[in-house]
């Protein structure tokens, strides 16, 4: 038992570090102001990684993965977070991609996987419906067979980044009479199909991240169904387990804590920097220690997986603690900036880059805090995660 990296691992880490330093696009200005990334911003890093062959470390090598060891993948996530690299959109790479290579037909694999890797297709996820919330299986969107097509009708919501999406993967009901989790199928839908309408939902900080998606008599070829009809829940469950990898968000929370420290060194509290305030310092320490606990719990869990145990329901712990830490980071940032949490900049017009009010790091502190309340709600709310642990781990 030890926690040292081997010489090979260290060489790998240095290689990764150098690659990032040499190739990552400079987004510092936009990031410091907390500005939203554009589609092109996201894709710029995606394309660079694709060219290098590093865009999908978690995929099997045969479909375009890197073939890295678990330790290498850990190093990769550490290093990209350390360098605050642009986040890769998960909908293709972490969500539908694995479903397709696990359950798809040879044709589906051949067509979709390369386009996910290259970034040619931007994906979105059509799961939640108004009214379904945490009770995902209560979905009501229907797909009725009509020759070689399904005719899909219904409404999805909380569809992240659907405004950019070329394709979406949807859970739809193909058998109305079956029990809740049965009778659901997993469809790939071209978002440019007639009858698909995407409407923005504006969240508390003024962000446009999520959307409503309306499906009105949308014609979807049966060949775009993944896995068997009425067995879509199997894909959904697979995806859920897969989605939880990295759900703890340790690496990015580490960055977040460093950022709070930087802010607290700049902000004054009387004649000292805020970071010298005993109580503010304590909150940072609590975060940092809780994050260590989360990190080592994740490492123990990964070690368990490596030993063949597979990601279990205890990954709900990672979701719960990870999301709580993310929220506390944004809360602390807002506390740190004092009065300058109040100004709201959404009023500025396109192309106006002047943000003269308060320090740059204060700019989006409040909206980010508001928006980050979502982390304990989405991906299975923390209440649902506790229910899962109670049932699956504790046998209650």
């Amino acid at each position: 038992m030890d926690m040292e990296f081997s010489a090979e691992d260290i060489a790998f880490r240095d290689e990764v570090r150098a690659f990032i330093a040499d190739n990552h696009p400079d987004m510092s200005a936009k990031k410091e102001l907390g500005e939203e990334m554009s589609k092109e911003d996201f894709l710029s890093w995606h394309r660079i990684l694709h060219a290098k062959g590093w865009v999908a470390p978690a995929w099997p090598k045969e479909y375009g993965g890197t073939g890295w060891t678990a330790t290498q993948r850990y190093i990769w996530s550490e290093e990209t977070a350390r360098a605050d690299c642009i986040r890769l959109m998960p909908f293709g790479l972490s969500m539908v991609g694995p479903v397709i290579y696990a359950f798809g037909t040879p044709e589906q694999k051949a067509h979709f996987l390369p386009r996910i890797l290259s970034g040619e297709d931007w994906w979105c996820q059509g799961y939640s419906e108004p009214g379904s919330g945490s009770d995902l299986a209560s979905l009501r969107t229907t797909a009725v067979r009509d020759g070689d097509d399904y005719i899909v009708n219904g409404q999805k919501t909380w569809t992240t980044m659907a405004q950019h999406a070329d394709w979406g993967f949807f859970l739809v009901r193909t058998d109305k009479d079956a029990k809740q989790q049965e009778g659901i199928s997993f469809l790939l839908i071209d978002m440019k199909s007639p009858g698909v309408t995407v409407r923005p939902i504006i969240t508390l900080g003024g962000e446009h991240e999520v959307n409503e998606v309306w499906l009105e008599n949308v014609r979807v070829p049966v060949s775009n169904r993944v896995y068997e009809e009425n067995k879509g829940w199997t894909c959904a469950k697979f995806l859920l387990a897969h989605e939880r990898t990295g759900i703890a968000g340790v690496a990015s929370s580490k960055r977040g804590i460093e950022r709070i420290k930087d802010i607290a060194k700049s902000e004054q509290d009387g004649d000292k920097p805020l970071i010298s305030n005993a109580f503010f310092k304590r909150k940072i320490a609590e975060l940092q220690i809780d994050l260590t606990a989360l990190e080592f719990t994740e490492l123990r869990s990964l070690a368990g997986e490596a030993a063949g145990k597979g990601p279990g329901p205890e990954s709900s712990l990672l979701k719960i603690k990870g999301s709580e830490i993310q929220q506390r980071i944004t809360e602390l940032a807002l506390e740190a900036v004092g009065h300058y949490g109040a100004p709201y900049f959404r009023g500025f017009g396109e192309g106006d880059n002047e943000h003269p009010i308060g320090p740059d790091y204060a700019h989006r502190a409040a909206p980010t805090y508001f928006n980050t309340r979502k982390t304990t709600i989405y991906g299975g709310s923390n209440e649902i995660q506790r229910n899962i642990i109670a049932k699956m781990v504790l046998g209650l």
């Binding site: 939902i201 969240t203 508390l204 009387g270 004092g338 300058y340 109040a342 100004p343 308060g358 979502k374």
Partner: protein, 378 residues
């Protein structure tokens, strides 16, 4: 000991509550804050003239109803319930409170026009480096003949775009962070040399950065009282904000209860889940305690300074934490819909969040309380 309201106080609450129910629905409020000027000035006129509401805490000799802190708290609570963006806090509680404290010709000159709705005031006290320390003032007021010349930068001045007057803290002497030499000035908002940058705030208000560049002000702009006066009016304001918070928190709780009773998940209203029930009970307890602390502090506002400050800091520390808890749990219980701009709940959450740190965070007030009540007793 008597915790009952007078008939006049009940009347003030009922009148205001009815008026706001009619004029300040969620949609009406959203329309106001999204308009060019960010408000509907007709509301303020109506509060002044139709309802006579701005007269509540002033003496009868100035045309007031003869009320005081209790009336301010009542009115602020109702304002909180509709997330009113009206400058009652700044104009009546803070500006009016300063004038009442100073009295004399300055009070005689301006209070009637506050009551009439013609004078609105913004309170320019915070500075970028100052955090919540009222003596951390770099803005200077240099004596110049019979008057003064102001120079400096005040940050995040709520309601400033709408103000006819500014209540400004500035230093006539003493070093940076010294209590001595900080004074309060009430000046015309449109004097030459005052530069304003206006912007919306995350909680639906408007505010400004204000730069004073050699602004010449008359000698009678000085409201005598120094840092002691400033602390007193900020304590009044802090309690007023606590009162507003009780309105905001009550609405967050009520909205959450209503939603939980309606929202179906897993074949039943989510209000049936015991975890959510107990959470809503905990929210209820925070609302009740916030009310208790606001009452406690309100009844201490005219006590000697150290008693007053200890009471106000107790209230604000507790209310700040309570507002945080109630706001976060209201959103969590709503789920995704709570994070959208569509429902009122998210906007109450935003206001509750800003109240947390207004006039000092929980930590700031815990430390002030400890200094007065624990350190000084040792």
């Amino acid at each position: 000991m008597d915790f009952t309201y007078t008939e006049t106080q009940d009347m003030i609450r009922d009148t205001l509550s009815r008026f706001l129910a009619d004029s300040y629905g969620f949609d009406a409020r959203q329309k106001m804050i999204n308009s060019e000027t960010g408000r509907d000035p007709g509301i303020w006129s109506a509060l002044a003239t139709e309802l006579g509401m701005l007269s509540a805490p002033f003496a009868e000799e100035h045309g007031g109803l003869g009320g005081g802190h209790v009336e301010n708290a009542l009115i602020m609570e109702e304002m909180g319930k509709v997330m009113a963006i009206e400058p009652y806090l700044q104009t009546v509680v803070i500006g009016g409170g300063a004038l009442k404290a100073v009295g004399g010709a300055q009070a005689d000159a301006i209070i009637p026009s506050i009551i009439g709705g013609e004078t609105t005031i913004a309170f320019a006290y915070a500075e970028p480096q100052g955090r919540y320390d009222l003596a951390n003032v770099r803005t200077t007021a240099k004596a110049d003949g019979a008057g003064y010349v102001l120079n400096g930068h005040k940050g995040v001045v709520y309601c400033a775009p709408w103000a006819t007057h500014l209540l400004v803290t500035a230093r006539t002497g003493g070093g940076h962070r010294e209590r001595n030499g900080v004074e309060l000035f009430l000046i015309d908002a449109n004097l030459p040399g005052i530069v304003r940058r206006d912007y919306p705030t995350v909680d639906g208000n408007r505010a400004s950065e204000i730069y004073f560049e050699n602004v010449a002000i008359p000698g009678d702009a000085l409201l005598l009282g120094g840092i002691d006066l400033i602390e007193h009016i900020v304590d009044n304001a802090t309690v007023a904000v606590c009162a507003e918070a009780t309105g905001v928190m009550a609405k967050l709780h009520e909205g959450t209860l209503d939603y939980a009773k309606q929202r179906q998940q897993f074949g039943q209203p989510i209000a049936r889940f015991q975890v959510l029930q107990h959470r809503m009970v905990d929210m209820f307890m925070e609302v009740e305690q916030a009310k208790s602390m606001t009452l406690y502090a309100t009844l201490h506002l005219d006590k000697p300074a150290s008693e007053r400050m200890a009471a106000v800091s107790q209230a604000k520390a507790k209310v700040s934490r309570g507002a945080n808890f109630v706001g976060q749990n209201a959103i969590q219980t709503h789920g995704g819909i709570g994070i959208t701009q569509e429902l009122a709940i998210g906007h109450y959450f935003k206001r509750a969040t800003m109240i947390e740190n207004q006039f000092g965070s929980a930590d700031y007030h815990y430390e002030r309380f400890e200094r007065i009540v624990i350190d000084e007793a040792n």
